[in-house]
Symmetry: C2
Subunit: 105 residues, 2 copies
DNA sequence: TTCTGTAGTCATATTTTTTTGACTAATTGA
DNA sequence: TCAATTAGTCAAAAAAATATGACTACAGAA
């Protein structure tokens, strides 16, 4: 496993890893919230009814590790952390639009 | 649950159900194989190393229920069943292409 | 009529994902 | 200094997804 990247493995389907990542519980919601502006840990916890710390922490970490979210420490007023869509993340917006438009017909 | 459709629930993200469906194990591979032509139960079982009957049966059923695959009984020679991409399913091909192209940059 | 290939189902077991609840640690306001 | 808000971690439990192995049923070939 040293010289491999995570996206391919042996499945033959390049999209598989990305699909898996995006389909995790809370991830699509987090992604869509991030489209509208910076998101924060406790904000998500409040906004997404039924969610929990652990799941949000894992989701944010994985989305960040995958390069879809940028994590930024805001050294101001209440000193907090913001997550923003990265360029890579933004490039995924049209994909979501396409997925959504799938139902509208 | 009587007047609701499966796609939305309370999540607010329309793409969520579709993402979940497509990310199930074996599903992306099955979908991609179906792009190249009709697929069959035992063929998948042979082609996808490490797979198993149960998982393939579930995957095919869910893909069919979602309307991405059409199931057809072929009343010929060896009498078998074929699954083909439906129109709905075909409309998803560009989405996969977009997901794949995500890595090539 | 027995064997092979077709396409599964079913109950159970294992594995993975998600949730729960307790805990940490720094910062800020009163 | 006490309490609240920030953003988490950790171990364990619960829930969901996936795999295993036994079984069914039909058709066709030998």
């Amino acid at each position: 496993m040293t010289t491999e990247n995570k996206e391919e493995k042996e499945s033959g389907c390049p999209a598989e890893g990305l699909l898996k990542l995006l389909s995790g519980k809370w991830k699509p919601q987090i992604f869509l919230l991030a489209v509208d502006g910076p998101i924060r840990f406790n904000g998500l916890l409040r906004d997404m009814k039924g969610s929990n710390k652990q799941s949000i922490a894992v989701a944010l970490r994985e989305l960040e590790e995958f390069g879809l979210l940028d994590k930024e420490v805001i050294k101001l007023k209440p000193l907090h952390i913001e997550y923003n869509l990265s360029e890579k993340g933004k490039s995924l917006i049209p994909v979501f639009r396409q997925l959504e438009s799938f139902f509208e017909k």
